[in-house]
Symmetry: C2
Subunit: 401 residues, 2 copies
């Protein structure tokens, strides 16, 4: 039957996270692997109230088919949230998606032909790489440091492609508390990336699930907001975000900010994909945002994650001194670490699982994984301080073995 | 910017239903257009209870990320429902989708390469045609009569393709109360289609949103159930269904029954598409199915739709005698009607809208629309008897003008 499968699908592999999460079914396993929010911090009572309100005030709206673009009330609340993040947009520019993952897939389906070039920060979000693979795009990694992508390297690569007679179509970035690196792109670099995009006619996708999770430091405006100040950039800026990390992933309520020319086409693809995101979940999300509970609740998540990050870093320094290098993130859910080059973190996984701890090895996060086997990603969001202590102890027993 | 859009997207047009629904924003308009369930029949209290139960019994499960295949409890309840419909399947064969629309899209993405041939009943569900267009498939219509597709025509087309050295990859059917034709494929024809599929190695997709909505007559087992009795067919049978027409479309909870070889690949595509369907909606659907309220509630929907169908047919016969031909459906939501050939129902739309009534013209339901301009689809599910009376009166004023 395998011959019936489409050619492009035959080459796509399940993401490593999927495999890791399966292994993590073991009850005694401490997982630093998945990017899961802490379930004990879910605002269950807030969700309950939002649902009751949605079913009381507009039961038909919450249960009937809806517009592909999304629920008008929710789009209004999200436009307000975007303004607080530093991007003044119109609700008309929004499309509500089934999680922001769908946003990446929809943009790839709308813009990419096989062989098109996508430039993405190196390392990059695994499931984005999977989407671009499925679109049969050619991925090229942009070099980065602790502050995110290097605009000079971006320019170098664009010019090298142009010299080959090719034009990159997309730049994909997690600009704030990147997955997996934890890095945040400075305002200056954001503007420079937008200038390059405008100059060369490339669409920039900023994927922003984490920016609300800042422990300290100054927030930086989303690129879609900064684009309004860069000539020619506004029409090329796409922004993705989600309620997954700040309210609940189970809602699968994400959103895209899009320029009009792109939104029209993308909505047609979205309609063929699933008609629209769950109106039930959208109405619950709408009532929740409207209630003002999110503003009260997010600081609790921020504080807890900040403490967990701090605790993980201190424990790593205590139990794995000098063996594991990392840079302290200013927010988000991840610690990106490196061992001595020569260590292969993928090969360590089975022994780590035997010891009762799991992480994500670094190589799969790179479009070109060579030379990146010594990295690993540790998530601190979904483990209690006790679990962090014990998990790092187990990791140390394997690494120091 | 248009040049950045992917080649295959440039040719895809918004579905006519989308346009029609926009026009239907007019408050005084009576819509026989969209396939919307009657909102006054939503079991709002049942949904409320199901949500409260979901958040009380397993808040973390309902709000956290979940498996791409779907929630285990919901898959178990759906396997029971499938057994009641006449198909004994394992929960492992199921994938929960964001509505059954996503099932069509996922199967197309998993199986179709550009240029592949899809055989589909003529006329066929609009948004399925849109999916196959987006997949750049070549669509060929299978002839049908009041009992659905003609297996002899199906065989003729398969053999004609084989004579050209080509092999069709998919057969797509709504076998029960088809959209738009209302026709139901007999058991004998279902078996014959399965035999042909097995003989020629073609995947059969049965899309079944409506089978619970039977007004009278005997139910026919789903093809995925019958496939167990046809040698070689089981591995080629795919079944799609949804809670949209029997519980609420807003949940966007659909499902697929798949053979193992296909499920593994499709789940990888699903993961890249949106990680998983809303766990919140899945848990609510699970608690609702488990409560037993659906069995009590569906007969009410069935009775109301049966009366509405009856009322629409009687009113059409009274106000448009001999002008509009149709066949009485045994269930579902649609009446498929024809005017004298020569009448173009698409051209009538603006005058109908002016008169305050809207329907879907027939031509877009055909892969090859030539010669089908005199058909139209009338939905009776979403209008009260009074609206049906007044809507048909308005339609008659336009047609008889």
């Amino acid at each position: 039957m395998e011959e019936l499968i489409a050619a492009r699908v035959r080459t796509v592999k399940p993401s490593f996270v999927r495999e890791v999460l399966k292994a993590a079914g073991r009850k005694d396993l401490i997982s630093f692997a998945g990017g899961l929010p802490a379930p004990e911090l879910f605002d269950v009572e807030g969700m309950r109230q939002a649902t009751l309100e949605a079913l009381e005030k507009d039961p038909v709206g919450a249960l009937q088919y809806g517009a592909t673009e999304g629920h008008a009330g929710l789009r209004g609340e999200i436009a307000k949230l975007m303004a607080e993040r530093g991007a003044h947009i119109s609700p008309d520019q929004l499309v509500i998606t089934t999680g922001s993952q769908q946003g990446i897939d929809l943009i790839a389906r709308t813009l990419l032909d096989p062989g098109d070039v996508v430039l993405l920060e190196q390392p990059s979000y695994l499931a984005a790489i999977q989407v671009f693979e499925l679109a049969q795009a050619e991925m090229r990694g942009i070099g980065s440091d602790g502050e995110g992508v290097l605009p000079d390297d971006l320019e170098r690569q664009i010019l090298a492609l142009k010299a080959e007679g090719r034009a990159p179509k997309l730049i994909y970035l997690v600009a704030t508390f990147a997955n997996p690196s934890g890095a945040t792109l400075s305002r200056e670099r954001r503007v420079r990336v937008l200038e390059l995009a405008a100059q060369h006619g490339i669409v920039v996708i900023e994927d922003d699930p984490y920016s609300e999770l800042r422990f300290h430091g100054e927030s930086v405006a989303p690129m879609v907001g900064l684009a309004q100040e860069v000539e020619g950039a506004e029409n090329l800026s796409v922004y993705l975000s989600t309620l997954s990390k700040v309210v609940a992933p189970g809602l699968r309520v994400g959103w895209m900010v899009l320029p009009a020319w792109l939104q029209q086409k993308l909505v047609i693809i979205k309609q063929a994909s699933d008609l629209h995101a769950s109106t039930f979940a959208q109405h619950v999300g709408y009532r929740y945002l409207q209630s003002g509970r999110m503003e009260q609740h997010v600081p609790k998540i921020r504080e807890a994650y900040g403490q967990r990050a701090q605790h993980m870093m201190a424990t790593l320094e205590r139990l794995l001194p000098r063996v594991l290098q990392f840079r302290a993130p200013e927010g988000g859910m991840f610690l990106w670490a490196s061992m001595a080059s020569g260590v292969d973190t993928m090969q360590l996984v089975p022994r780590a699982v035997d010891a009762g701890v799991i992480y994500v090895p670094g190589a799969p996060f790179f479009a070109n994984p060579e030379g990146h086997a010594h990295h690993l990603r540790l998530s601190f969001s979904n483990s209690t301080p006790e679990q962090i202590e014990e998990g790092v102890r187990r990791l140390a027993s394997v690494v120091m073995d």
